[in-house]
């Protein structure tokens, strides 16, 4: 039965959300000059809007958790076996759901804005409601005059997919859904998108204060309430970006946390501009300069978020990104969204430009403003550098629009295209953030500066010298970056100690700067000095076709055969399944049951039923042994998703204080493919005899009658016998138990037994009672293997520690600016 009502309800909520966003935007606009009546009315409408968004989410969630696969969204993103926390993440796997997530955050933020700030309510909420109009239109899913407006998550499968089955049976409902993309089945994917989208959503607030301020002629007063929000946004967005990096590091097989993928860049660029805008806003608050620049940067950071959305969702990056969305037919709508806000911002700024005060006096290099501008300029240049390269597909499209072919492709060498230029600009950033802080807190002149800087400079030279010698850093760029970062850490620490003595509440800036410098050091070591341990220099005959400089970065490991890799001896132990009761269990001990989650284990201890955590997942047990006899085991994973026909590998990481050992499997024998078996070999053995199978010592222990043969019911006239053959493997013994069945004294049945780890199978060919012997036949095949890459990433922990400091610094700063705002508000000053 198709559940029509739920979908119609959801769609009704979508339409209500769209209409109320338009209505409230209009009403807030009317109420912009402290018109209480319009504003109150607008807020009421906005609450209806919030309610309808919650209604959409609730309805969609109801459809997902009840497995209503007649709905396209539920079918494409969910499945019956999916645990509840991944049912939550399949909610935002699709474009429609992620727009919904964005709208949800905007709605929540709207409520907070309505309740905290009376004076700014109308002009600010006008802009927020306006963004909601565009977002709601993305999921509207209605056709007006042949124009498709948005894509609704409440479409029925048959409305979206043109499958023949719907012609014969319009009420067809698939048994199960496609499920969640295996790449996204990771706990980071449950918490990372909401964080990132909260970051996305918060960028609208400083923008809304700025535009709202221009709207009502409060050209400079908007900065105070906007600043804590800008800081909050930068913090959340930064955390979201790093969570994404960490997710990529933990689950994607590329061996790093940053790939300069367009989707990653698209969010890094607005963040840099947002951070730059915070700096100039602070400069404005101190000295009254830089208002115009603050405005431009705040507006730019929001517009860049929209541009990023357009890039990643319009399908324009289809050829250059591995994880951008496919086009849902929304690219035109997204472009309009972007262009409207660009036009709106330019119009407002141009209109007020003459009234915006600008500083006339000379900016001296000894003033703090000078240093802040320099820092902001470097941040913007970093953003511009990444943006210029990421937009390459856009240039092609624009060129096409003017009728010529550009054919530009993204840079192939990401080091010289992004990493190196970013590194050079980071050096400037580190130096500026170290030195700028002294200007911030004291009045400086040439003599004083020398005095202040002498000690930090000397200390940082000594520390960097030591690190350079011990760490054998020879690359000149890295040496320079390291010295600059250490300088920034030492200088900011000195400033921090100074402030902490007087008023610790003001220390946000110095903590954040220390965090950034630490992050840079962590990036420098973990990326610049990451070392592939599994490099294979053995050039075989075949590989001589390759040019000499091509290394093979992977290692082939056969099961239970140790191989030396760098300082480690590596052993691959076979495939494991993750069970709820007993952790990792050898796959060879398990037999599947009808329930895909349940398996039966047969071992010496008897038979028991175990529950698999995820039947799609298998783990490769890989042991690392050092010469001193230390060892650790890693379990890189493979997910085989038949519904989506995907095989996804995920690495496993051994975390040490000074380095991460990162191991990922590249490929392994296809489990669906029957191996190539050798010609059968026959051997005659007596009970107790020792012989060899596939070079392993085997003993025929005994023969015993069997009363129960799996798969073949035995009748009274049947006789079944099994041979128990013990084999000594490299690390443990195995039993092979082939069965021989005589049915009605005439027909002979042979059931072979296979020992996967030792790569053979054996059957009883014949029983010779007179000789007290049996004839065994065995076949061998290639041993199980994996191809893996192992990478060592030194000092990556500095990156994560730096991140924590960054967040702490931001929290301290936000608290300070927020209290300042509250103080002013309660005094009744303009808010």
């Amino acid at each position: 039965m198709i559940h029509y009502f739920e979908g119609q309800l959801g769609h009704t909520f979508v339409i209500i959300a769209f209409v109320t966003s338009m209505l409230s935007a209009y009403a807030y606009f009317k109420g912009r000059n402290q018109d209480k009546e319009w504003t109150t009315f607008a807020s009421k409408i906005f609450y209806v809007h919030v309610f309808s968004i919650i209604g959409i989410i609730g309805t969609l969630f109801y459809l997902i958790t009840n497995h209503y696969f007649e709905y396209h969204y539920v079918f494409s993103h969910s499945s019956k076996l999916l645990p509840i926390y991944y049912q939550i993440s399949c909610f935002w796997e699709g474009q429609e759901g992620s727009f919904l997530l964005w709208m949800f955050w905007n709605a929540i933020l709207g409520v907070i804005l309505i309740r905290t700030n009376n004076f700014w309510k109308a002009p600010v909420m006008f802009v927020v409601a306006l963004t909601q109009v565009f977002l709601a239109s993305m999921i509207l899913g209605v056709v007006i005059f042949d124009i498709k407006l948005g894509s609704s998550p409440f479409m029925l499968l048959r409305e979206v997919i043109d499958a023949p089955i719907f012609k014969t049976n319009p009420n067809f409902i698939p048994e199960d859904g496609n499920g969640l993309n295996p790449l996204l089945q990771n706990y980071w994917m449950v918490i990372h998108p909401p964080t990132l989208f909260l970051g996305f959503a918060t960028t609208v607030i400083p923008f809304a204060y700025c535009i709202g301020g221009l709207l009502i002629g409060k050209n400079k007063e908007w900065i105070r309430p906007a600043l804590p929000w800008a800081q909050f946004s930068a913090m959340i967005l930064g955390v979201g970006i790093l969570m994404g990096a960490y997710w990529a590091y933990e689950t994607l097989n590329f061996g790093g946390y940053w790939n300069w993928d367009p989707v990653e860049n698209a969010i890094y660029v607005p963040w840099l501009v947002l951070v730059a805008s915070i700096h100039v806003m602070i400069a404005y608050k101190k000295s009254g300069s830089a208002l115009k620049i603050s405005m431009i940067l705040v507006v730019a950071s929001f517009l860049l978020v929209l541009y990023a959305t357009f890039l990643t969702r319009s399908g324009i990056l289809g050829n250059s990104s591995v994880h951008s969305f496919t086009d849902l037919g929304l690219s035109g709508q997204l472009l309009i969204y972007l262009l409207v806000f660009i036009a709106l911002s330019i119009a407002f700024i141009v209109k007020r430009w003459k009234d915006i005060p600008s500083t006339k006096e000379e900016t001296s290099p000894y003033s703090r403003e000078f240093w802040i501008f320099m820092g902001a300029a470097v941040l913007c240049l970093m953003a511009f550098q990444v943006l210029a390269g990421t937009s390459i597909p856009v240039y092609n499209q624009v060129a096409e629009l003017f009728g010529f072919e550009l054919n530009m492709a993204p840079a192939t060498d990401t080091y010289s295209a992004y990493s190196l230029p970013q590194l050079i600009l980071s050096v400037l950033l580190a130096i500026l953030s170290g030195t700028g802080q002294f200007f911030w807190w004291k009045k400086m002149d040439g003599k004083k500066l020398k005095e202040e800087l002498r000690t930090p400079f000397l200390i940082s030279l000594v520390i960097s010298g030591l690190i350079i010698v011990i760490g054998k850093i020879t690359e000149p760029y890295y040496v320079i970056l390291l010295i600059a970062c250490i300088y920034s850490i030492v200088a900011n620490s000195k400033v921090f100690i100074g402030i902490a003595k007087s008023n610790i509440k003001l220390s946000g800036g110095s903590i954040t700067h220390i965090g950034v410098a630490l992050m840079l050091v962590g990036i420098l070591f973990s990326s610049g000095y990451s070392k592939i341990l599994s490099t294979n220099y053995t050039s075989m005959v075949w590989s001589s076709e390759f040019p000499e400089e091509v290394n093979k970065d992977n290692l082939l490991l056969f099961i239970n055969e140790p191989r030396q890799m760098d300082e480690y001896s590596m052993i691959y132990r076979g495939i494991r399944k993750d069970t709820r009761e007993d952790g990792f269990v050898d796959q060879n001990e398990l037999t599947p049951t009808i329930n895909p989650l349940k398996v039966v284990r047969k071992s010496e201890r008897g038979t028991d039923t175990l529950t698999l955590i995820n039947p799609e997942n298998s783990y490769f047990e890989v042991e690392y042994h050092t010469e001193e006899g230390k060892q650790f085991t890693l379990f890189p994973r493979v997910q085989i998703n038949t519904a989506m026909d995907m095989i996804v590998y995920s690495p496993d990481i051994k975390r040490k204080v000074n380095a991460d050992m990162y191991t990922h499997v590249r490929t392994f024998p296809d489990p669906d493919q029957e191996p190539d078996w050798s010609e059968p070999q026959e051997i005659k053995v007596k009970i107790g005899d020792q012989f060899f199978i596939n070079d392993y010592v085997a003993t025929l222990e005994r023969m015993e009658p069997v009363s129960n043969v799996e798969g073949t019911p035995l009748s009274s006239g049947d006789i079944a016998v099994k041979a128990v053959i013990n084999l000594q493997g490299e690390y443990k013994d195995y039993d092979a138990e082939p069965v021989f069945v005589i049915r009605n004294k005439e027909y002979v049945g042979r059931i072979d037994d296979q020992v996967n780890d030792l790569a053979f199978r054996v059957s009883i060919q014949n029983i010779l009672p007179q000789e007290n012997a049996v004839v065994l036949a065995y076949q061998t095949t290639q041993k199980d293997w994996i191809i893996m890459e192992a990478v060592k990433k030194p000092w990556i922990n500095l990156l994560w520690i730096g991140t924590f400091l960054l967040v702490i610094g931001f929290i301290v700063a936000i608290r300070r600016r927020y209290l300042e705002f509250v103080r002013m508000r309660d005094k009744g000053v303009e808010a």
Partner: protein
């Protein structure tokens, strides 16, 4: 005011330098024929070639040869002009290689061989799939 203008000029200067270096780092989409010409002219950088894997009439992909140690492989690829070329790649065969609709190789000619440093696959199933229903 003077420092302001100097600053602006410096920033614009760096921005121009960034654009120039971006254009220099950018690659191009070319065919095998153009790639060959480029390499003969001494162009050493990597380029993108878009193509498909050759198939038999029954839809089976042909021309993939794995090295004995499985750590590298070669394959045939047909570019948009229908030119077929053998490509070397020093990594194991990607899992979804034979399922890909379209292959983008990033690399360059080394003599008469094309060595791919990177292979990007476009799989029909990667993000959105039109399901087949059996009932």
């Amino acid at each position: 005011m003077k420092t302001k203008y100097i600053g602006a000029i410096v920033i614009i200067g760096i921005a121009i330098a960034i654009i120039i270096s971006m254009a220099g780092d950018a690659s191009t989409y070319v065919t095998f024929g153009e790639a060959k010409k480029l390499s003969e002219k001494g162009f050493k950088k990597s380029i993108h070639v878009v193509g498909e894997l050759p198939k038999t009439a029954s839809g089976e992909i042909v021309g993939i040869e794995e090295s004995p140690d499985k750590l590298s492989f070669k394959f045939e690829m047909i570019d948009e002009n229908g030119v077929q070329q053998q490509v070397l790649h020093a990594n194991p065969v990607p899992t979804d290689f034979i399922r890909s609709e379209q292959v983008v190789i990033v690399g360059s000619y080394q003599g008469d061989k094309f060595v791919a440093e990177k292979i990007l696959l476009k799989c029909p199933s990667k993000y959105q799939e039109d399901p087949e229903f059996n009932s």
